[in-house]
């Protein structure tokens, strides 16, 4: 079997815009799940609302496409009622961090045994490009026409602070690293959070001089810096160029887990 066998082919083609990064992240996730040797019967994909959250609809397993922001609460019930099920959650920055922010921090705190893959495109894609809690300062969106004035969330740091056992961040450019990080998340007992920065040429790029999908991927590539490298530069008093986003593994630890397989 390959990860392609997990796709629900009779539902394709998908609804994603041309150039969207979500397909890459779904491929990486299914590749990681397939490499775990899990059966389709024991694996459940859960999601909330938004572009990212349509992913379970394209996967041939049991799937729960729920209400906006609530995926982690639904997933907690699925996992605790039957710990034999392997639970993977797809979510986006608006779904997870705005309306679902409270569920996010509490799922991290409980350290429920599941893996969350967040496709962070800095924008509300499905509703047409409104600002989200991760929209960078001064970025344009349909609800920040003069540039975003609020400080954005760093979702990975938030997950570390709230108590997740495993946290990593990569982008849709870093296919191998992202796949490996998701695989590590699946292997790690407890709450695993993998943030995948993705290009959204339609909702984000066209308002922010990144109209072509490749422009935005190039931006993610050139503004990535390995977390350890950034920390070393800071330790050594070197100046880290502004706008660089740290990538890699933020935490891997062994706090007490809720809902581990009995």
């Amino acid at each position: 079997m390959t990860f392609l066998d997990w796709y629900r082919e009779d539902r394709l083609p998908h609804i994603y815009c041309a150039g969207c990064g979500n397909g890459t992240v779904i491929n990486c996730t299914l590749d990681a799940v397939e490499s775990m040797g899990w059966s389709r019967e024991e694996t459940v994909f859960v999601s909330g609302i938004g572009c990212s959250s349509r992913a379970p609809g394209y996967i041939k397993t049991d799937g729960l496409h729920t209400t906006h922001g609530r995926a982690l609460a639904f997933a907690t019930g699925v996992k605790l009622a039957n710990p034999a099920l392997q639970v993977v959650v797809f979510t986006g920055d608006g779904d997870l961090a705005a309306i679902g922010g409270n569920h996010f921090i509490h799922a991290c705190r409980r350290n429920v045994d599941m893996t969350v893959v967040c496709m962070n495109n800095f924008i509300y894609g499905m509703t047409g490009g409104q600002g989200s809690p991760t929209t960078p300062r001064s970025a344009l969106s349909s609800t920040t026409p003069y540039g975003a004035e609020e400080e954005p969330f760093d979702l990975s740091l938030l997950a570390v602070a709230a108590g997740a056992n495993y946290v990593a961040r990569w982008t849709s450019y870093h296919v191998k690293e992202l796949t490996r990080a998701i695989r590590t998340g699946l292997e790690t007992p407890g709450f695993s959070f993998v943030e995948a920065l993705v290009q959204c040429p339609t909702g984000y790029g066209r308002r922010n001089r990144l109209r072509e999908a490749t422009d935005m991927v190039e931006y993610l590539k050139t503004h990535s810096i390995l977390l350890q490298k950034k920390q070393r530069m800071e330790r050594e008093g070197q100046e880290v160029p502004p706008g660089m986003i740290p990538m890699g593994e933020f935490v891997r630890r062994n706090r007490a887990v809720l809902g581990a397989r009995r």
């Binding site: 629900r8 539902r11 389709r40 019967e41 024991e42 459940v44 859960v46 379970p56 609809g57 041939k60 397993t61 049991d62 799937g63 729960l64 496409h65 729920t66 209400t67 609530r70 609460a73 639904f74 997933a75 907690t76 019930g77 699925v78 996992k79 605790l80 009622a81 039957n82 034999a84 099920l85 409270n102 569920h103 509490h106």
Partner: protein, 366 residues
């Protein structure tokens, strides 16, 4: 073995759930329902069940729905403000045909209102609170015994019709203590599993699909979007939406005779009380005091779907008197179904109608 105990209503509710095989409780503390959560927290771990105190009521009902799809009987308990928070996901449960039990021990509202005093102000919210068209089942206990029995029954109805079922209690029945007979076992009607080859959202003759629990290889896609019989989103097809939503309503409404549970006392009477929940106790006292069979009483244990045919059992009725701890929510429903006079006897503020008040109302209707 059947045993007799002296018990609080909320505890009896939890015991009824456990007897019915409930193995998951997700909840958030709120007066006056909290004893249900506390009792489940104490009792579920010893029965290989899961208790989890979620971060809010939205998360509580979400976790309950998730647990139900994992194949276990699951419930939550709350009161007015928490019930309002649950509404979005209650609609999701109706749309996705998820069996679950939601207990609302009602308190005075709107808003935070009267946390420690009784009301029946959420009767229409439970029927119509979420957006769109759908139908649900709601039961109303009038005693500690019924807190036990109707909770257990709620699980059977939820599984039978793949629908959220509400136990619409009130602070009085939740906190009263009285004698209760606990049977050695309660009837458990198991969920009908999805048959091989059947579609997960295809109704069949009774409109109710078998249940495709997770982990059994059904590869079912569950979505709150308008979906076809396979569960696939089909949001731009008027006919598919109409067929789905019509079935969700009809599978409950068409079964209302089968679902209905009520007591009809003195069916020849001309003056007839219609009641549910705690006010039914006062009506029973009025009938007892009158002692002549001249006053009838329709006591509803099922409020939704509304058993309008039960009103017609009172062939000689001239007036229906409807005491409720709200400003007339179910009396309006009764008006829709009968030609006779319907007199609402509202009482809000937290106190129950007194026998004298209702006796005077009956006298005034003669």
């Amino acid at each position: 073995m059947t045993r007799t105990e002296f018990m609080q209503g909320n505890v009896a509710c939890a015991e009824g759930a456990l007897a019915a095989g409930c193995r998951f409780f997700g909840g958030y503390p709120i007066t006056p329902s909290t004893e249900i959560a506390e009792h489940m927290a104490a009792r579920l771990p010893g029965r290989q069940g899961t208790f989890i105190q979620m971060e809010d009521e939205i998360a509580s009902i979400a976790a309950v729905i998730g647990a139900s799809w994992s194949g276990v009987r699951a419930m939550t308990a709350t009161s007015g403000p928490g019930f309002s928070l649950m509404m979005e996901n209650i609609g999701y449960a109706a749309m996705t045909e998820t069996p679950c039990v939601i207990v609302n021990v009602q308190r005075g509202g709107p808003s935070t209102g009267q946390p420690t005093l009784a009301a029946q102000g959420d009767m229409l919210q439970c029927r119509f609170g979420s957006h769109g068209d759908y139908s649900i089942i709601a039961l109303a206990p009038a005693s500690v015994q019924e807190m036990f029995e109707l909770t257990a029954k709620a699980f059977n109805l939820a599984d039978r019709y793949r629908v959220p079922v509400f136990l619409m209690a009130d602070e009085i029945v939740g906190h009263m203590r009285e004698r209760i007979v606990i049977p050695d076992r309660v009837e458990i009607a198991e969920r009908r599993p999805l048959e091989a080859g059947a579609l997960p959202f295809q109704g069949g003759a009774d409109g109710v699909p078998g249940f495709p629990a997770f982990g059994r290889g059904h590869a079912v896609h569950v979505t709150g979007l308008t979906h076809d019989e396979r569960g696939y989103p089909r949001t731009n097809h008027p006919k598919i939406h109409e067929a789905l939503v019509t079935r969700l309503v009809r599978k409950v409404e068409d079964a209302r005779r089968e679902i209905a549970d009520y007591d009809a006392v003195n069916p020849d009477a001309e003056i007839v009380f219609v009641s549910y929940g705690a006010p039914a106790r006062t009506v029973q006292q009025v009938l007892h005091d009158a002692g002549d069979g001249g006053i009838g009483h329709l006591r509803l244990k099922t409020v939704w779907p509304f058993p309008e045919f039960a009103l017609r059992e009172f062939r000689n009725a001239r007036t229906f008197l409807v005491p409720e701890m709200n400003l007339g929510q179910i009396s309006r429903e009764i008006e829709r179904h009968v030609d006779q006079a319907v007199v609402s006897i509202p009482k809000i503020g937290g106190e129950l109608h007194t026998p004298g008040e209702l006796a005077r109302a009956a006298e005034g209707a003669r």
